[in-house]
Symmetry: C2
Subunit: 284 residues, 2 copies
């Protein structure tokens, strides 16, 4: 357990410190997410248990698009010495990537489950209207881009919250650009977004499932994108492109209805990304 | 002009009377919709003008899924004698159907354009949460079903507003049933919902357009379904199945973004209807 540490590449949520609980990783490729306060932690745990065991979830979907769940574990934390805290034990989705470029994109125009109490709806609605969620069906919650020289671009949260439509497009272009200057060249778009096993083909596979699945409604969940900036610039190929769903504290039962809110936002994200893949390459 | 009259088969909106403005039809197959008060009427007119002339709208989509727009006309009304009122002149979408069975389905979990002022958002949100809009991504705003003997089932608005998920499923089954009793037999499901030119194939064509189109966001618009109960029961075939978009007072500019809110609701409706088509037929 001595190798537990805050993940180097975290782009959203609280960072573990002496003041705050936050996720931890270890060398074996596991990710430890502290159970959130109130109902949230319990709800996320309940989701992982139900989802992991659900006979109607295709194994391919579970394996390709969700972190594997390994139960919960009590761990000591820096924030609360002497008071071990329960953590969800999950696969570390970025394990094995030398220089992970990561984006956390919260999906859905609506981020509150329909059964939420009024004050929670009002709070979420204000955020959804104040960011691009209502307009685009998603918002960028975090991003970290590693340039070939190793320089890291990681905008702060207020900058991300203030993004408009054009700003989101800029961030999604910069996420696959090999230079850190003003002009995003989208040099990695074909390798990361396009092609076999790229983001776009993975998102489309996910979409096909969302057109049919009526088990869960993933309010306020995110799609985490990851690729290895070193591998992709060296080889021009995929670079271990990852597309994963995360953050399940507000999942509701589907009750025979598709998750139209997630699906709509996912289709919008697909359109943004396919627009970038279709752009003619910049002249060198 | 003497053949102007309120449409016999209207299922949603105000009915023209001495007290209220409402739509009129004539014998030539035209539908006259009074310009709504405030900005709405003007916005709906502006939408029809922009949409009718837009080079990026595929003619097939315009012709198949939208009423044709014939400009505006000042007409005398019973509600305001001596004070002609401007009307949108549109195709009567139910013209030619002997015994129209009609459903008006308002699409989208969100019915307010993102730029709406706070009180309007609050008012819409209360309705969207109070009906099935938030949960299903659509709500049934009106329905009229003609049984083979000619008996008409037309639930009142409060009954429709109170529908839950199971209730919506019941209404969509009853819409294609040939008996008026408690048990919906879905005898017309294959002819009306399924098959070539049926509701499902038309909705899927519409969906393909919504996955790409970034011109308009159709907040609070409805899909109108119509078929000829006489024709479909006599022949077992399509019976002039119609799938049309209506009510454009709250359309917003797409600004390069797909209408994820309409698309999500549309996919949810498609799932409901395809579930009904896939049911094994009742034993006779």
């Amino acid at each position: 357990m001595s190798d537990l540490r805050p993940p180097e590449h975290q782009v959203a949520g609280h960072r573990a410190s002496a003041n705050k609980l936050g996720p931890l990783v270890d060398d074996s490729g596991l990710f430890y997410k502290p159970l959130q306060a109130g109902d949230r932690g319990e709800q996320e745990r309940a989701f992982y248990e139900a989802f992991s065991a659900h006979a109607a979830v295709p194994p391919r979907i579970r394996d390709a698009f969700f972190p594997r769940f390994h139960g919960t574990r009590l761990l000591p934390t820096e924030a609360r010495p002497g008071e071990p805290h329960p953590h969800l034990v999950l696969d570390d989705l970025l394990a094995g990537l030398q220089a992970p470029s990561v984006a956390d994109i919260k999906i859905g125009a609506i981020t509150w489950p329909p059964s939420s109490p009024e004050p929670y709806v009002a709070k979420c609605l204000a955020k959804d209207r104040g960011t691009t969620s209502v307009l685009l069906g998603f918002r960028v919650s975090g991003v970290r881009v590693v340039a070939p020289g190793g320089a890291v671009w990681r905008p702060e949260r207020p900058e991300l919250k203030a993004l408009d439509t054009a700003g989101v497009r800029r961030v999604l272009r910069r996420y696959v650009s090999s230079v850190s200057g003003e002009v995003a060249d989208c040099a990695l778009a074909a390798a990361v977004y396009g092609g076999e096993g790229g983001v776009l083909s993975q998102l489309r596979e996910l979409k096909a499932w969302f057109e049919e699945q009526t088990l869960f409604h993933f309010y306020s969940a995110s799609i985490l994108l990851g690729y290895d900036a070193n591998a992709v610039s060296a080889t021009g190929a995929g670079g271990g492109v990852r597309v994963k769903l995360v953050d399940f504290a507000h999942v509701a039962e589907g009750d025979g209805v598709i998750d139209h809110n997630f699906l709509g936002g996912l289709c919008s994200l697909i359109k943004f990304i396919s627009d970038i893949v279709s752009e003619p390459p910049l002249a060198p």
